[in-house]
């Protein structure tokens, strides 16, 4: 796939003191759905604003479809954008909002009407053409914003937390719709969110942002299965953390001492030498309760502190493994929770490929 967007050596500071974006290099392929995921304040919106042309990078350059964009004003970039809180024009009707980008492009009236109608049909808002945005529900406003950003057929569409204001059900439905439209139109999307499940379900690739730096950029599955560092492991899904010291390295595995005399085998991800401190990350759903011999590589004893019933699954907090409660997640199959009673001692275990030795998590 050819690269559509290149960000090269981008740095950005607003006040001349603190770098909000630190040395960003990013390629976005034609037709790709790339998500920038990160906690609030990590610089995601800033990256989007630089792409759209509302902010100028302090250093570095932006190339879109072979054209240098760094100094081009936003109206000449031809990039569609869906803003946080939609930014629909309150003084115009839905149809007028959709017609706006076509009007400023001086499209003939007949074609303009035709395109607006098709666009309304695409987001199923034909009956609402003459309403003002304030007379629409949140989900409907969202669809207008989406249609408006797509109606002039841009090659690149930017979306800044477009679903942030919607409730959970609507959000899931809109995620699906956005994916459908993306698949149908083949447009390139750079999508910003702080919601990890949204990022995982929608994207071709996810770039995890923290502190102005891309921590990891890869397909969603890899992000979950093979987090590159302890920030990503902690940010994407749940994980249990145990700190320890590397005692021995064998190929791509290592032995880590988590308590005096207690050593576990782990996959080597972020450690390089023996005697290095490390953080072990274990996903709660990969932990087995009372494992059979040979089923797992590591077996450890713990005490059940509490059991929470979640319907489709059961969560247990265990004591005795590190300072924080150790979380175990079991599917709610018959008899799964039989041994899990508060105060009971249980043995737990996991395969060494499910235990990652990552860099030391800073406090």
């Amino acid at each position: 796939m050819t690269s559509l967007v290149s960000l090269r050596g981008i740095q950005k500071t607003y006040d001349g003191k603190q770098l909000v974006v630190k040395n960003l290099d990013l390629e976005v392929s034609e037709g790709e759905f790339l998500t920038l995921l990160g906690p609030s304040g990590s610089g995601k919106t800033t990256v989007l604003m630089m792409l759209a042309g509302f902010e100028t990078p302090t250093t570095g350059e932006i190339v879109i479809a072979g054209q240098h964009m760094t100094r081009l004003p936003p109206q000449k970039r031809g990039i569609g954008m869906v803003f946080q809180n939609y930014a629909l024009f309150p003084n115009m009707s839905v149809a007028e909002n959709l017609a706006f980008p076509l009007e400023v492009r001086k499209l003939p009236t007949v074609e303009l009407r035709d395109r607006v109608e098709k666009s309304l049909a695409m987001v199923r808002l034909t009956p609402f053409a003459d309403r003002r945005p304030s007379q629409l529900s949140g989900g409907q406003q969202q669809r207008v914003a989406l249609a408006r950003a797509l109606i002039f057929e841009p090659r690149l569409v930017l979306m800044d937390e477009p679903l942030g204001a919607l409730d959970k059900n609507l959000r899931e439905q809109m995620q699906y719709e956005i994916k459908q439209i993306h698949a149908r139109l083949g447009v390139t999307v750079v999508y910003v969110t702080h919601d990890q499940s949204e990022a995982l379900t929608m994207s071709d690739r996810v770039a995890v942002f923290n502190d102005g730096i891309i921590q990891q950029i890869c397909p969603p599955k890899e992000l979950y299965e093979r987090p590159g560092n302890s920030f990503v492991a902690g940010f994407i899904g749940e994980n249990n953390r145990l700190s320890g010291v590397v005692r021995k390295i064998i190929d791509d595995e290592c032995l880590v001492e988590i308590a005096p005399g207690v050593t576990v085998k782990a996959r080597k991800v972020g450690v390089h030498a023996t005697a290095e401190p490390t953080t072990l990350s274990i996903r709660p759903e990969r932990v087995k309760i009372s494992p059979q011999a040979g089923e797992v590589d590591t077996v450890i004893a713990g005490e059940v502190e509490s059991v929470l019933y979640h319907g489709d699954h059961i969560r247990a907090h265990l004591r005795g493994l590190g300072p924080a409660p150790f979380v175990v997640k079991l599917p709610n199959t018959n008899g799964a929770a039989a041994t899990l009673v508060a105060g009971a001692s249980v043995s737990i275990g996991w395969a060494s490929r499910d235990c990652l030795a990552l860099d030391l998590m800073e406090a």
Binding site: A52, P73, G80, A87, F89, F100
Partner: protein, 420 residues
């Protein structure tokens, strides 16, 4: 395991079926809330009643109230009831009645008041009445008609009786006629005033024109200021806000005096222009003591009243809207014209209405810097309140001003609504 709900149970749970006592209780709660809300606004209602509604009501009443002649010359008026100036002089009964009325008024000391009232319509009537009052005595009883004419030959003309009758209605529209540059002839018909005496209509027109012009100049100046205020970083915006509000910290008289120092013929502006050679000594600009002065100083004094509402509206415009417009391909100017400006129209409306209305009511500024052609209707109202003491006319002019502002405001609202 609970059994599924029966149809009956479902109906019971529906929100439409409301037992009567619940409804009553809900209404009771509502009433109690309404009552405490009313208690909270009571002081405001009392204030509005005493400071606004009652004075305005009295004003409206004053503009039609006309008791002086009706109560002062009752017998004359009775005798004049079926008389018309076309008949020539009134009957002797009118003279007899007038004599009795004047003597009674003299005894009660109200002759001066009656004279003053008649003087409003007929200049000279006051001294005529006073002189007549002094010279009436028992000898005039025999033939009051001739006796009156002997005292002053104006009593031998029908005009003065027509004036008395025109002024004799207990409630009158004459003040409104006067305010609209109309009058009644001796026959009581409504006619236009003589050319030289028509001044109110022109003043009303000038007031609207000057106020509209001031509001427009304020708009031109306020829009960029409010824009800066709403879009500068907070610290610099605060500084600018202080500059905008600075005029409020100085007395209005001090500000006007400063403007006089700046704008007069030998003032700073003219001196500067003359020394730069832009204007010659003979061509010094008349910037004050005329309509220009009223507009310049009015603009300065009223500008904050435009900036503040406009600023508060601009503050609420989501900055992403203009960004969205440019990202959709609009030039900055198109984004401004199609998106930003329409959203600030409510602020323009509020600001211009405020400035316009305040301007129609201003009289200190025009009085001090307006010269001859910069006087507004409020100056005439003030004159009749304070100097001529013709409160009826002042009240009628004020009422017309109120109505006029109401009409302008109504038309303006329609205009702005259609714009959006």
């Amino acid at each position: 395991m609970s059994a599924p709900l029966s149809a009956e149970q479902m109906a019971g749970a529906s929100p439409t079926a409301m037992p009567a006592d619940i409804e009553k209780a809900a209404r009771r709660v509502e009433r109690r809330q309404a009552f405490s809300a009313a208690l909270l606004v009571l002081p405001l209602i009392v204030l509005i009643a005493f400071a606004f509604l009652i004075p305005v009501g009295l004003l409206l009443f004053k503009s039609i109230d006309n008791p002086v002649v009706a109560e002062g010359l009752p017998e004359t008026l009775t005798a004049l009831q079926s008389w018309s100036p076309a008949d020539g002089l009134p009957s002797d009964a009118a003279y007899t009645g007038l004599k009795r009325d004047i003597e009674k008024a003299k005894a009660e000391g109200t002759l001066g008041v009656i004279g003053a009232r008649l003087n409003q319509d007929t200049p000279g009537a006051r001294s005529l009445l006073q002189a007549t009052g002094r010279r009436l005595d028992a000898t005039t009883d025999a033939d009051p008609h001739q006796a009156f004419i002997a005292i002053d030959k104006r009593w031998g003309e029908p005009e003065i009786f027509g004036a008395i009758r025109n002024a004799g209605d207990r409630y009158t529209l004459n003040y409104y006629l006067n305010a609209l540059d109309l009058t009644r002839n001796t026959a009581g018909d409504i006619i236009a005033k003589p050319e030289g005496q028509r001044l109110h209509i022109n003043l009303f027109i000038r007031t609207v024109w000057v106020s509209a012009l001031t509001a427009f100049v304020c708009f031109l100046l306020a829009y960029p200021i409010a824009y800066l205020l709403a879009h500068l970083p907070a610290r610099r915006a605060n500084l600018l806000m202080i500059v905008v509000l600075l005029p409020f910290w100085t007395s209005i008289l001090v500000r006007i005096t400063s403007w006089i120092a700046l704008l007069q013929k030998q003032g700073v502006v003219n001196d500067a222009l003359a020394s730069l050679g832009v204007i010659g000594e003979a061509g010094r600009l008349a910037l004050i003591y005329n309509m220009t002065g009223t507009i310049i100083v009015g603009t300065h004094i009223l500008l904050p009243f435009f900036v503040l509402p406009l600023y508060s509206v601009m503050k609420t415009v989501n900055p992403n809207l203009v960004r969205a417009a440019t990202s959709l391909g609009a030039s900055p100017f198109t984004a401004f014209r199609r998106v930003y400006f329409p959203l600030t129209v409510p602020g323009i409306f509020a600001g211009s209405s405020l400035v316009f209305i305040l301007c129609t009511g201003y009289f200190i500024t025009p009085a001090l810097v307006g010269g001859q052609n910069g006087q507004l209707i409020s100056n005439i109202i003030a004159y009749h309140m304070q100097q001529s003491l013709n409160w009826g006319l002042a009240a009628a002019l004020s009422t017309l001003l109120l109505v006029m502002i109401g009409i302008v405001y109504f038309l303006y609202t329609r205009l702005v609504r259609d714009q959006r």
